[in-house]
Protein backbone atom coordinates (compact mmCIF):
# COMPACT_ATOMS: atom_id res chain seq x y z
CA UNK A 1 0.00 0.00 0.00
CA UNK A 2 1.50 3.32 -0.98
CA UNK A 3 1.38 6.61 0.83
CA UNK A 4 -1.38 8.25 -1.18
CA UNK A 5 -3.68 5.40 -0.35
CA UNK A 6 -2.85 5.77 3.34
CA UNK A 7 -3.64 9.45 3.18
CA UNK A 8 -7.08 8.91 1.81
CA UNK A 9 -7.94 5.82 3.80
CA UNK A 10 -10.15 7.72 6.20
CA UNK A 11 -12.66 8.67 3.59
CA UNK A 12 -12.93 5.68 1.33
CA UNK A 13 -12.54 1.93 1.53
CA UNK A 14 -9.59 0.98 -0.67
CA UNK A 15 -10.78 -1.72 -2.99
CA UNK A 16 -9.06 -4.94 -3.96
CA UNK A 17 -7.03 -5.40 -0.86
CA UNK A 18 -9.31 -8.00 0.64
CA UNK A 19 -7.47 -10.86 -1.01
CA UNK A 20 -4.20 -9.98 0.75
CA UNK A 21 -6.00 -9.18 3.98
CA UNK A 22 -6.41 -12.82 4.89
CA UNK A 23 -3.28 -14.76 3.99
CA UNK A 24 -3.87 -18.31 5.13
CA UNK A 25 -2.68 -19.00 8.60
CA UNK A 26 -0.11 -21.44 7.27
CA UNK A 27 1.89 -18.61 5.72
CA UNK A 28 1.95 -16.72 8.98
CA UNK A 29 3.07 -19.75 10.96
CA UNK A 30 6.12 -19.95 8.70
CA UNK A 31 9.62 -19.35 9.95
CA UNK A 32 10.61 -15.70 10.42
CA UNK A 33 14.01 -14.50 9.25
CA UNK A 34 15.51 -11.68 11.29
CA UNK A 35 17.18 -8.81 9.47
CA UNK A 36 20.96 -9.10 9.01
CA UNK A 37 23.18 -6.15 9.89
CA UNK A 38 25.99 -6.42 7.35
CA UNK A 39 27.82 -3.26 8.42
CA UNK A 40 28.16 -4.46 11.97
CA UNK A 41 29.36 -7.88 10.90
CA UNK A 42 32.12 -6.44 8.73
CA UNK A 43 33.22 -4.02 11.45
CA UNK A 44 33.39 -6.86 13.94
CA UNK A 45 35.46 -8.93 11.51
CA UNK A 46 37.99 -6.14 10.99
CA UNK A 47 38.25 -5.65 14.73
CA UNK A 48 38.86 -9.32 15.37
CA UNK A 49 41.64 -9.27 12.80
CA UNK A 50 43.25 -6.23 14.38
CA UNK A 51 43.10 -7.79 17.83
CA UNK A 52 44.67 -10.96 16.44
CA UNK A 53 47.50 -8.93 14.90
CA UNK A 54 48.08 -7.13 18.16
CA UNK A 55 48.25 -10.38 20.11
CA UNK A 56 50.54 -11.91 17.52
CA UNK A 57 52.96 -9.03 17.71
CA UNK A 58 52.81 -8.92 21.52
CA UNK A 59 54.18 -12.45 21.50
CA UNK A 60 56.59 -12.34 18.61
CA UNK A 61 58.05 -8.84 18.83
CA UNK A 62 61.35 -9.13 20.70
CA UNK A 63 61.31 -5.45 21.63
CA UNK A 64 58.75 -6.07 24.35
CA UNK A 65 61.52 -7.90 26.24
CA UNK A 66 59.17 -10.10 28.19
CA UNK A 67 62.00 -11.68 30.24
CA UNK A 68 62.88 -8.20 31.54
CA UNK A 69 59.21 -7.56 32.33
CA UNK A 70 59.09 -10.78 34.26
CA UNK A 71 62.31 -9.94 36.09
CA UNK A 72 61.00 -6.62 37.36
CA UNK A 73 57.37 -7.61 37.91
CA UNK A 74 57.91 -8.47 41.56
CA UNK A 75 61.11 -6.47 42.04
CA UNK A 76 61.25 -5.14 45.62
CA UNK A 77 61.60 -1.54 44.44
CA UNK A 78 58.47 -1.88 42.29
CA UNK A 79 56.61 -3.57 45.13
CA UNK A 80 57.58 -0.78 47.51
CA UNK A 81 56.38 1.77 44.94
CA UNK A 82 53.10 -0.08 44.51
CA UNK A 83 52.63 -0.09 48.28
CA UNK A 84 53.21 3.65 48.44
CA UNK A 85 50.79 4.29 45.59
CA UNK A 86 48.07 2.26 47.29
CA UNK A 87 48.70 3.91 50.64
CA UNK A 88 48.65 7.38 49.10
CA UNK A 89 45.44 6.63 47.24
CA UNK A 90 43.68 5.21 50.27
CA UNK A 91 44.66 7.92 52.74
CA UNK A 92 44.33 10.88 50.37
CA UNK A 93 40.96 9.65 49.15
CA UNK A 94 39.66 9.19 52.70
CA UNK A 95 40.67 12.71 53.65
CA UNK A 96 39.21 14.04 50.41
CA UNK A 97 35.84 12.37 51.02
CA UNK A 98 35.51 13.82 54.51
CA UNK A 99 36.62 17.26 53.31
CA UNK A 100 34.31 16.94 50.33
CA UNK A 101 31.29 16.32 52.55
CA UNK A 102 32.15 19.35 54.68
CA UNK A 103 32.66 21.51 51.59
CA UNK A 104 29.40 20.31 50.04
CA UNK A 105 27.56 21.12 53.26
CA UNK A 106 29.12 24.62 53.27
CA UNK A 107 28.29 25.10 49.59
CA UNK A 108 24.65 24.16 50.23
CA UNK A 109 24.47 26.20 53.43
CA UNK A 110 22.09 29.12 53.62
CA UNK A 111 24.91 31.17 55.10
CA UNK A 112 26.19 33.29 52.20
CA UNK A 113 29.74 33.60 53.57
CA UNK A 114 30.23 29.87 54.09
CA UNK A 115 28.78 29.15 50.70
CA UNK A 116 30.93 31.66 48.83
CA UNK A 117 34.17 30.76 50.59
CA UNK A 118 33.47 27.13 49.70
CA UNK A 119 32.78 28.27 46.14
CA UNK A 120 36.10 30.08 45.95
CA UNK A 121 37.88 27.02 47.30
CA UNK A 122 36.32 24.81 44.64
CA UNK A 123 37.16 27.36 41.96
CA UNK A 124 40.79 27.52 42.96
CA UNK A 125 41.49 23.85 43.55
CA UNK A 126 39.66 22.70 40.44
CA UNK A 127 41.19 25.46 38.36
CA UNK A 128 44.89 24.73 38.80
CA UNK A 129 46.78 21.57 37.87
CA UNK A 130 47.55 19.13 40.65
CA UNK A 131 51.20 19.20 39.61
CA UNK A 132 51.46 22.89 40.43
CA UNK A 133 49.61 22.47 43.70
CA UNK A 134 52.03 19.76 44.77
CA UNK A 135 55.08 21.84 43.91
CA UNK A 136 53.52 24.71 45.79
CA UNK A 137 52.91 22.81 49.00
CA UNK A 138 56.33 21.26 48.80
CA UNK A 139 57.89 24.68 48.58
CA UNK A 140 55.62 26.40 51.03
CA UNK A 141 58.58 27.05 53.32
CA UNK A 142 60.05 29.26 50.63
CA UNK A 143 57.04 31.48 51.22
CA UNK A 144 56.37 30.87 54.89
CA UNK A 145 59.41 29.47 56.68
CA UNK A 146 57.45 29.14 59.91
CA UNK A 147 53.86 28.12 60.60
CA UNK A 148 52.23 29.30 63.77
CA UNK A 149 48.89 29.51 65.51
CA UNK A 150 48.13 32.66 67.43
CA UNK A 151 46.04 35.80 67.37
CA UNK A 152 46.42 37.09 63.83
CA UNK A 153 48.00 40.45 62.95
CA UNK A 154 48.74 41.41 66.56
CA UNK A 155 48.88 38.68 69.12
CA UNK A 156 51.43 36.27 70.46
CA UNK A 157 52.19 32.88 68.95
CA UNK A 158 50.64 29.98 70.86
CA UNK A 159 52.21 27.27 68.79
CA UNK A 160 54.74 27.39 66.02
CA UNK A 161 56.99 25.09 64.03
CA UNK A 162 59.29 25.05 61.07
CA UNK A 163 57.20 24.63 57.94
CA UNK A 164 59.41 21.80 56.75
CA UNK A 165 59.06 19.86 59.97
CA UNK A 166 55.26 20.10 59.69
CA UNK A 167 55.09 19.53 55.95
CA UNK A 168 57.07 16.35 55.61
CA UNK A 169 57.19 14.64 52.25
CA UNK A 170 54.20 12.46 53.03
CA UNK A 171 52.25 15.32 54.53
CA UNK A 172 52.79 17.33 51.38
CA UNK A 173 51.81 14.46 49.12
CA UNK A 174 48.68 13.63 51.09
CA UNK A 175 47.74 17.26 51.58
CA UNK A 176 48.23 18.07 47.92
CA UNK A 177 46.28 15.10 46.63
CA UNK A 178 43.52 15.38 49.24
CA UNK A 179 42.91 19.13 48.87
CA UNK A 180 42.78 18.88 45.09
CA UNK A 181 40.55 15.84 45.19
CA UNK A 182 38.27 17.28 47.87
CA UNK A 183 37.15 19.95 45.43
CA UNK A 184 35.95 17.25 43.04
CA UNK A 185 34.43 15.17 45.83
CA UNK A 186 32.52 18.21 47.08
CA UNK A 187 30.79 18.53 43.72
CA UNK A 188 29.98 14.83 43.69
CA UNK A 189 28.57 14.88 47.22
CA UNK A 190 26.57 17.98 46.43
CA UNK A 191 25.08 16.33 43.36
CA UNK A 192 24.23 13.27 45.43
CA UNK A 193 22.52 15.24 48.17
CA UNK A 194 20.53 17.26 45.63
CA UNK A 195 19.45 14.05 43.91
CA UNK A 196 17.46 12.84 46.90
CA UNK A 197 13.92 14.11 46.35
CA UNK A 198 12.84 16.77 48.80
CA UNK A 199 9.85 14.52 49.45
CA UNK A 200 12.05 12.10 51.32
CA UNK A 201 13.26 14.80 53.68
CA UNK A 202 9.70 15.97 54.21
CA UNK A 203 8.46 12.48 54.94
CA UNK A 204 11.19 12.03 57.54
CA UNK A 205 10.54 15.44 59.12
CA UNK A 206 6.83 14.75 59.17
CA UNK A 207 7.55 11.58 61.16
CA UNK A 208 9.24 13.75 63.78
CA UNK A 209 12.86 13.07 62.90
CA UNK A 210 15.16 16.01 63.53
CA UNK A 211 17.23 17.39 60.63
CA UNK A 212 20.39 15.56 61.68
CA UNK A 213 18.73 12.13 61.95
CA UNK A 214 16.96 12.81 58.69
CA UNK A 215 20.28 13.53 57.03
CA UNK A 216 22.10 10.55 58.47
CA UNK A 217 19.42 7.89 58.17
CA UNK A 218 17.33 8.95 55.19
CA UNK A 219 19.13 11.41 52.91
CA UNK A 220 22.74 10.22 53.08
CA UNK A 221 22.04 6.51 52.42
CA UNK A 222 20.02 7.47 49.36
CA UNK A 223 22.55 10.04 48.23
CA UNK A 224 25.23 7.38 48.42
CA UNK A 225 23.59 5.56 45.55
CA UNK A 226 24.38 8.59 43.38
CA UNK A 227 27.67 9.44 45.08
CA UNK A 228 29.28 6.01 44.89
CA UNK A 229 29.68 5.53 41.13
CA UNK A 230 31.58 8.78 40.48
CA UNK A 231 33.52 8.32 43.71
CA UNK A 232 34.67 4.94 42.42
CA UNK A 233 35.85 6.67 39.28
CA UNK A 234 37.67 9.24 41.39
CA UNK A 235 39.43 6.52 43.35
CA UNK A 236 40.60 4.96 40.11
CA UNK A 237 41.65 8.39 38.88
CA UNK A 238 43.49 9.08 42.11
CA UNK A 239 45.35 5.80 41.78
CA UNK A 240 46.69 7.01 38.47
CA UNK A 241 47.15 10.71 39.11
CA UNK A 242 48.87 10.05 42.41
CA UNK A 243 51.86 9.30 40.19
CA UNK A 244 52.31 13.07 39.99
CA UNK A 245 53.84 12.97 43.47
CA UNK A 246 57.01 12.00 41.63
CA UNK A 247 57.50 15.73 41.21
CA UNK A 248 58.31 15.97 44.92
CA UNK A 249 60.48 12.83 44.69
CA UNK A 250 58.12 10.52 46.51
CA UNK A 251 58.83 7.20 44.79
CA UNK A 252 55.40 5.77 44.00
CA UNK A 253 54.83 2.94 41.54
CA UNK A 254 55.54 4.89 38.36
CA UNK A 255 58.45 6.85 39.78
CA UNK A 256 60.09 3.71 41.14
CA UNK A 257 60.02 2.32 37.64
CA UNK A 258 61.34 5.59 36.22
CA UNK A 259 64.22 5.55 38.66
CA UNK A 260 65.12 2.11 37.37
CA UNK A 261 64.72 2.71 33.66
CA UNK A 262 66.42 6.08 33.60
CA UNK A 263 69.51 4.23 34.73
CA UNK A 264 69.12 0.94 32.85
CA UNK A 265 67.18 2.30 29.85
CA UNK A 266 64.79 -0.65 29.80
CA UNK A 267 61.99 1.83 29.29
CA UNK A 268 59.35 -0.21 27.49
CA UNK A 269 59.52 -3.34 29.66
CA UNK A 270 59.36 -1.29 32.83
CA UNK A 271 56.41 0.72 31.56
CA UNK A 272 54.72 -2.60 30.81
CA UNK A 273 55.38 -3.73 34.38
CA UNK A 274 53.86 -0.54 35.74
CA UNK A 275 50.89 -0.75 33.37
CA UNK A 276 50.18 -4.31 34.41
CA UNK A 277 50.05 -3.31 38.06
CA UNK A 278 47.86 -0.30 37.36
CA UNK A 279 45.54 -2.43 35.25
CA UNK A 280 45.31 -4.99 38.01
CA UNK A 281 44.54 -2.36 40.65
CA UNK A 282 41.97 -0.53 38.54
CA UNK A 283 40.28 -3.80 37.61
CA UNK A 284 40.04 -4.84 41.26
CA UNK A 285 38.72 -1.39 42.16
CA UNK A 286 36.14 -1.49 39.35
CA UNK A 287 34.99 -4.84 40.60
CA UNK A 288 34.62 -3.57 44.16
CA UNK A 289 32.88 -0.48 42.81
CA UNK A 290 30.29 -2.52 40.96
CA UNK A 291 29.64 -4.56 44.08
CA UNK A 292 29.24 -1.50 46.30
CA UNK A 293 26.99 0.15 43.72
CA UNK A 294 24.72 -2.87 43.72
CA UNK A 295 24.58 -2.77 47.48
CA UNK A 296 23.56 0.88 47.63
CA UNK A 297 21.15 0.46 44.76
CA UNK A 298 19.01 -1.89 46.83
CA UNK A 299 15.32 -1.15 46.94
CA UNK A 300 15.50 0.72 43.65
CA UNK A 301 13.61 -0.77 40.73
CA UNK A 302 15.92 -0.09 37.81
CA UNK A 303 13.38 -0.42 35.03
CA UNK A 304 14.10 2.85 33.29
CA UNK A 305 11.70 2.18 30.45
CA UNK A 306 8.65 1.93 32.68
CA UNK A 307 9.59 4.75 34.99
CA UNK A 308 6.84 7.18 34.08
CA UNK A 309 4.06 4.91 35.28
CA UNK A 310 2.08 6.41 38.06
CA UNK A 311 2.70 3.77 40.68
CA UNK A 312 5.93 1.83 40.70
CA UNK A 313 5.30 -1.57 39.19
CA UNK A 314 5.64 -4.86 41.03
CA UNK A 315 9.21 -5.62 40.06
CA UNK A 316 9.26 -9.36 40.32
CA UNK A 317 11.96 -11.42 41.92
CA UNK A 318 14.45 -8.73 42.91
CA UNK A 319 17.25 -10.42 44.78
CA UNK A 320 17.06 -9.16 48.30
CA UNK A 321 20.42 -7.65 49.22
CA UNK A 322 21.98 -7.54 52.67
CA UNK A 323 20.57 -4.87 54.95
CA UNK A 324 22.64 -2.01 56.30
CA UNK A 325 24.55 -2.63 59.47
CA UNK A 326 22.42 -0.12 61.31
CA UNK A 327 19.20 -1.68 60.22
CA UNK A 328 20.45 -5.13 61.11
CA UNK A 329 21.32 -3.92 64.55
CA UNK A 330 17.79 -2.67 65.04
CA UNK A 331 16.41 -6.03 64.04
CA UNK A 332 18.73 -7.94 66.36
CA UNK A 333 17.83 -5.76 69.29
CA UNK A 334 14.23 -6.37 68.42
CA UNK A 335 14.75 -10.11 68.61
CA UNK A 336 16.63 -10.16 71.88
Amino acid sequence: MDRSAADSSNSRASGGTTSTLTPDEETLAKETVPLRHHGRTVAAGVLVLLVAMLCHSLITNKNYEWPVVWHYLFHPQIMAGLGRTLLLTAVAMSIAIVLGIVLAACRLSENKILSSVAGAYLWFFRGTPLLIQLVFWYNLSALYPRLSIGIPFVGPEFFGAETNSVLTLWTVALLGLALHESAYMAEIVRGGLLSVPKHQTEAALALGMNPFTTFRRIVLPQALRVIIPPTGNQVIGMLKYSSLVSVIALPDLLYSAQMIYTQTFETIPLLIVVSLWYLLCTSVLSFVQRYVERYYGRGVAGMGDRSTRRGPRFSALRKRPQTTLGATAVRQEAKS
Binding site: V135, Y138, S141, A249, Q258
Partner: protein
Amino acid sequence: GESLNEAKTAGSVQSKDDGLAMLLPKAVRDKGTITVAAAVYAPAVMVPPGGGEPTGWDIQITRETAALLGLKVKFTIIPFDGVIPGLQAGRYDAATGEINVTDDRTKIVRFVVNHVSRDAFMVKADSKYAKFQDPLDACGLIVGASLGSSEAALANKLAAGCDTAGKAPLTVKTFADQATVNLALSQGRIAANIASGSQVAYSVKQSKGKFKVAEMGFGPEIKTGFVLPNNANTAEMAKAFEAATNKLIETGGLQRILNEQNLGLGAVKKSEVIPPVEN
Protein backbone atom coordinates in the same frame (compact mmCIF):
# COMPACT_ATOMS: atom_id res chain seq x y z
CA GLY B 1 69.64 35.93 35.14
CA GLU B 2 71.94 38.48 33.53
CA SER B 3 74.56 35.96 32.41
CA LEU B 4 72.07 34.50 29.99
CA ASN B 5 71.93 37.74 28.12
CA GLU B 6 75.65 37.68 27.33
CA ALA B 7 75.10 36.50 23.80
CA LYS B 8 77.46 33.62 23.21
CA THR B 9 78.80 32.56 19.84
CA ALA B 10 75.46 31.82 18.33
CA GLY B 11 76.52 30.65 14.90
CA SER B 12 79.41 28.42 13.96
CA VAL B 13 82.87 29.81 13.41
CA GLN B 14 84.03 26.69 11.61
CA SER B 15 83.75 25.99 7.93
CA LYS B 16 83.31 22.64 6.24
CA ASP B 17 86.33 20.31 5.97
CA ASP B 18 85.65 18.16 2.91
CA GLY B 19 88.05 15.46 4.01
CA LEU B 20 86.26 15.02 7.27
CA ALA B 21 82.88 15.18 5.59
CA MET B 22 83.78 12.18 3.43
CA LEU B 23 83.94 10.08 6.60
CA LEU B 24 80.20 10.50 7.11
CA PRO B 25 77.73 7.90 5.88
CA LYS B 26 76.46 8.92 2.49
CA ALA B 27 72.83 9.25 3.60
CA VAL B 28 73.76 11.68 6.37
CA ARG B 29 76.07 13.65 4.13
CA ASP B 30 73.34 14.02 1.53
CA LYS B 31 70.77 15.08 4.09
CA GLY B 32 73.12 17.69 5.52
CA THR B 33 71.20 18.09 8.77
CA ILE B 34 71.17 16.14 12.02
CA THR B 35 68.64 16.30 14.85
CA VAL B 36 70.28 16.50 18.24
CA ALA B 37 68.46 16.10 21.54
CA ALA B 38 69.58 18.00 24.60
CA ALA B 39 68.23 18.66 28.05
CA VAL B 40 68.55 22.04 29.68
CA TYR B 41 71.62 21.77 31.88
CA ALA B 42 73.21 25.14 32.39
CA PRO B 43 75.77 26.16 31.40
CA ALA B 44 76.23 23.28 28.98
CA VAL B 45 72.77 23.69 27.48
CA MET B 46 70.64 26.79 27.90
CA VAL B 47 67.60 28.20 26.16
CA PRO B 48 67.32 31.97 25.84
CA PRO B 49 64.25 33.16 27.75
CA GLY B 50 62.93 34.87 24.64
CA GLY B 51 63.05 31.64 22.69
CA GLY B 52 65.35 30.98 19.75
CA GLU B 53 68.39 28.77 19.32
CA PRO B 54 69.83 27.14 22.45
CA THR B 55 73.23 28.20 23.76
CA GLY B 56 75.84 26.71 26.09
CA TRP B 57 79.26 25.22 25.74
CA ASP B 58 78.19 21.71 24.79
CA ILE B 59 75.73 23.11 22.29
CA GLN B 60 78.52 25.18 20.79
CA ILE B 61 80.96 22.24 20.65
CA THR B 62 78.32 20.18 18.87
CA ARG B 63 77.55 22.97 16.46
CA GLU B 64 81.16 23.59 15.53
CA THR B 65 82.02 19.90 15.24
CA ALA B 66 79.08 19.40 12.94
CA ALA B 67 80.09 22.45 10.91
CA LEU B 68 83.48 20.89 10.26
CA LEU B 69 81.60 17.90 8.81
CA GLY B 70 79.40 20.17 6.76
CA LEU B 71 76.28 19.41 8.80
CA LYS B 72 73.61 21.72 10.13
CA VAL B 73 72.23 20.92 13.58
CA LYS B 74 68.60 21.01 14.63
CA PHE B 75 68.42 21.00 18.42
CA THR B 76 65.43 19.55 20.32
CA ILE B 77 65.22 20.43 23.99
CA ILE B 78 63.68 17.61 26.03
CA PRO B 79 63.73 16.44 29.68
CA PHE B 80 66.94 14.73 30.66
CA ASP B 81 65.35 11.36 31.41
CA GLY B 82 63.96 11.28 27.88
CA VAL B 83 67.28 11.80 26.07
CA ILE B 84 68.66 8.29 25.85
CA PRO B 85 65.26 6.56 25.44
CA GLY B 86 64.67 9.05 22.60
CA LEU B 87 67.88 7.90 20.92
CA GLN B 88 66.82 4.28 21.40
CA ALA B 89 63.48 5.01 19.81
CA GLY B 90 65.28 6.55 16.83
CA ARG B 91 63.73 9.95 17.34
CA TYR B 92 67.10 11.77 17.21
CA ASP B 93 70.35 11.34 15.36
CA ALA B 94 72.43 12.22 18.40
CA ALA B 95 72.36 13.85 21.82
CA THR B 96 74.48 16.26 23.76
CA GLY B 97 74.47 18.20 27.04
CA GLU B 98 77.27 17.12 29.39
CA ILE B 99 76.16 13.50 29.22
CA ASN B 100 78.46 11.36 31.32
CA VAL B 101 79.95 8.15 30.01
CA THR B 102 78.69 5.32 32.24
CA ASP B 103 78.69 1.55 31.95
CA ASP B 104 74.92 1.34 31.67
CA ARG B 105 74.85 3.89 28.91
CA THR B 106 77.68 2.44 26.86
CA LYS B 107 75.68 -0.78 26.54
CA ILE B 108 73.13 0.96 24.38
CA VAL B 109 74.69 4.09 22.94
CA ARG B 110 78.12 5.20 21.71
CA PHE B 111 80.02 8.25 22.99
CA VAL B 112 82.44 10.54 21.18
CA VAL B 113 84.31 12.02 24.15
CA ASN B 114 84.96 15.78 24.00
CA HIS B 115 85.14 16.89 27.62
CA VAL B 116 85.94 15.76 31.14
CA SER B 117 84.21 16.95 34.24
CA ARG B 118 84.17 16.32 37.93
CA ASP B 119 81.09 16.07 40.01
CA ALA B 120 80.71 18.44 42.90
CA PHE B 121 78.44 18.95 45.85
CA MET B 122 76.38 22.09 46.20
CA VAL B 123 75.25 23.12 49.68
CA LYS B 124 73.62 26.14 51.24
CA ALA B 125 75.95 29.05 51.87
CA ASP B 126 75.55 28.70 55.64
CA SER B 127 76.21 24.95 55.58
CA LYS B 128 79.01 23.55 57.75
CA TYR B 129 80.15 21.37 54.86
CA ALA B 130 82.90 22.88 52.70
CA LYS B 131 84.42 19.77 51.18
CA PHE B 132 83.57 16.07 50.99
CA GLN B 133 86.94 14.36 51.14
CA ASP B 134 85.76 10.80 51.65
CA PRO B 135 82.78 8.90 50.19
CA LEU B 136 81.57 8.33 53.77
CA ASP B 137 81.56 12.05 54.60
CA ALA B 138 78.08 12.48 53.20
CA CYS B 139 76.55 9.68 55.30
CA GLY B 140 73.50 10.78 57.29
CA LEU B 141 72.60 13.50 54.79
CA ILE B 142 69.70 13.83 52.38
CA VAL B 143 71.26 14.23 48.94
CA GLY B 144 69.41 15.35 45.82
CA ALA B 145 70.14 14.75 42.15
CA SER B 146 68.19 14.96 38.93
CA LEU B 147 66.29 12.01 37.54
CA GLY B 148 68.25 9.77 35.22
CA SER B 149 71.56 11.53 35.78
CA SER B 150 74.76 9.66 36.47
CA GLU B 151 74.97 11.70 39.67
CA ALA B 152 71.79 10.02 40.86
CA ALA B 153 73.50 6.70 40.32
CA LEU B 154 76.61 7.98 42.13
CA ALA B 155 74.46 9.10 45.07
CA ASN B 156 72.90 5.66 45.25
CA LYS B 157 76.39 4.14 45.30
CA LEU B 158 77.38 6.44 48.17
CA ALA B 159 74.22 5.40 50.03
CA ALA B 160 75.11 1.75 49.60
CA GLY B 161 78.62 2.54 50.85
CA CYS B 162 77.22 4.14 54.00
CA ASP B 163 75.07 1.07 54.62
CA THR B 164 77.95 -1.38 54.31
CA ALA B 165 80.16 0.83 56.50
CA GLY B 166 77.42 0.88 59.14
CA LYS B 167 77.24 4.64 59.05
CA ALA B 168 74.11 6.74 59.33
CA PRO B 169 72.05 6.19 56.17
CA LEU B 170 72.36 8.54 53.21
CA THR B 171 68.97 9.31 51.62
CA VAL B 172 68.78 9.98 47.89
CA LYS B 173 66.04 12.11 46.35
CA THR B 174 65.82 12.40 42.59
CA PHE B 175 63.89 15.27 41.07
CA ALA B 176 62.66 15.79 37.54
CA ASP B 177 64.96 18.74 36.85
CA GLN B 178 67.74 20.80 38.33
CA ALA B 179 65.43 23.71 39.19
CA THR B 180 63.43 21.52 41.53
CA VAL B 181 66.65 20.24 43.09
CA ASN B 182 67.75 23.80 43.74
CA LEU B 183 64.39 24.73 45.24
CA ALA B 184 64.54 21.72 47.55
CA LEU B 185 68.06 22.68 48.58
CA SER B 186 67.18 26.30 49.22
CA GLN B 187 64.44 25.21 51.61
CA GLY B 188 66.52 22.64 53.41
CA ARG B 189 64.52 19.69 52.14
CA ILE B 190 67.84 18.28 51.00
CA ALA B 191 71.23 18.99 52.56
CA ALA B 192 73.32 18.72 49.43
CA ASN B 193 73.04 18.32 45.71
CA ILE B 194 75.39 16.35 43.51
CA ALA B 195 75.81 17.62 39.97
CA SER B 196 78.55 18.20 37.49
CA GLY B 197 81.10 20.79 38.54
CA SER B 198 80.08 23.22 35.83
CA GLN B 199 76.40 22.92 36.66
CA VAL B 200 77.17 23.56 40.32
CA ALA B 201 79.27 26.57 39.48
CA TYR B 202 76.49 27.98 37.37
CA SER B 203 73.81 27.36 40.04
CA VAL B 204 75.93 28.99 42.70
CA LYS B 205 76.32 32.02 40.52
CA GLN B 206 72.57 32.16 39.87
CA SER B 207 71.67 31.72 43.54
CA LYS B 208 73.02 35.16 44.43
CA GLY B 209 74.92 33.90 47.40
CA LYS B 210 72.47 31.38 48.72
CA PHE B 211 74.54 28.34 47.71
CA LYS B 212 78.19 27.41 47.71
CA VAL B 213 80.29 24.69 46.13
CA ALA B 214 81.55 21.84 48.32
CA GLU B 215 84.25 20.01 46.40
CA MET B 216 84.08 16.29 45.94
CA GLY B 217 87.52 15.10 46.91
CA PHE B 218 86.98 11.48 46.01
CA GLY B 219 85.23 11.84 42.72
CA PRO B 220 86.92 10.50 39.60
CA GLU B 221 87.32 12.51 36.46
CA ILE B 222 84.30 11.73 34.30
CA LYS B 223 84.32 11.73 30.53
CA THR B 224 81.38 13.32 28.78
CA GLY B 225 80.62 13.51 25.12
CA PHE B 226 78.52 13.51 22.04
CA VAL B 227 76.10 10.55 22.06
CA LEU B 228 75.08 8.42 19.09
CA PRO B 229 72.40 5.72 19.01
CA ASN B 230 73.31 2.20 17.95
CA ASN B 231 72.26 1.63 14.37
CA ALA B 232 73.74 0.89 10.97
CA ASN B 233 75.40 4.31 10.75
CA THR B 234 76.93 4.38 14.19
CA ALA B 235 80.45 3.26 13.35
CA GLU B 236 80.94 5.71 10.50
CA MET B 237 79.26 8.55 12.38
CA ALA B 238 81.44 7.94 15.45
CA LYS B 239 84.59 7.92 13.36
CA ALA B 240 83.64 11.12 11.62
CA PHE B 241 82.76 12.98 14.81
CA GLU B 242 85.90 11.69 16.53
CA ALA B 243 87.99 13.10 13.71
CA ALA B 244 86.11 16.38 13.70
CA THR B 245 86.46 16.75 17.46
CA ASN B 246 90.18 16.12 17.18
CA LYS B 247 90.40 18.84 14.56
CA LEU B 248 88.51 21.18 16.86
CA ILE B 249 91.00 20.40 19.60
CA GLU B 250 93.96 20.93 17.30
CA THR B 251 92.69 24.28 16.07
CA GLY B 252 92.10 25.44 19.66
CA GLY B 253 88.42 25.80 19.07
CA LEU B 254 87.46 23.53 21.96
CA GLN B 255 89.51 25.42 24.51
CA ARG B 256 88.18 28.70 23.18
CA ILE B 257 84.57 27.58 23.68
CA LEU B 258 85.27 26.33 27.19
CA ASN B 259 87.13 29.50 28.03
CA GLU B 260 84.19 31.56 26.95
CA GLN B 261 81.48 29.54 28.60
CA ASN B 262 82.88 27.16 31.23
CA LEU B 263 85.70 28.99 32.97
CA GLY B 264 88.14 27.14 30.71
CA LEU B 265 87.56 23.83 32.45
CA GLY B 266 87.38 20.30 31.11
CA ALA B 267 89.03 20.19 27.70
CA VAL B 268 90.35 16.79 26.59
CA LYS B 269 93.64 16.26 24.82
CA LYS B 270 92.26 13.80 22.31
CA SER B 271 88.83 12.53 21.48
CA GLU B 272 87.93 8.84 21.68
CA VAL B 273 84.95 6.64 20.88
CA ILE B 274 83.50 4.61 23.74
CA PRO B 275 82.85 1.77 23.28
CA PRO B 276 85.55 1.73 20.60
CA VAL B 277 84.63 0.95 17.03
CA GLU B 278 85.98 -2.41 15.79
CA ASN B 279 88.45 -2.65 12.87
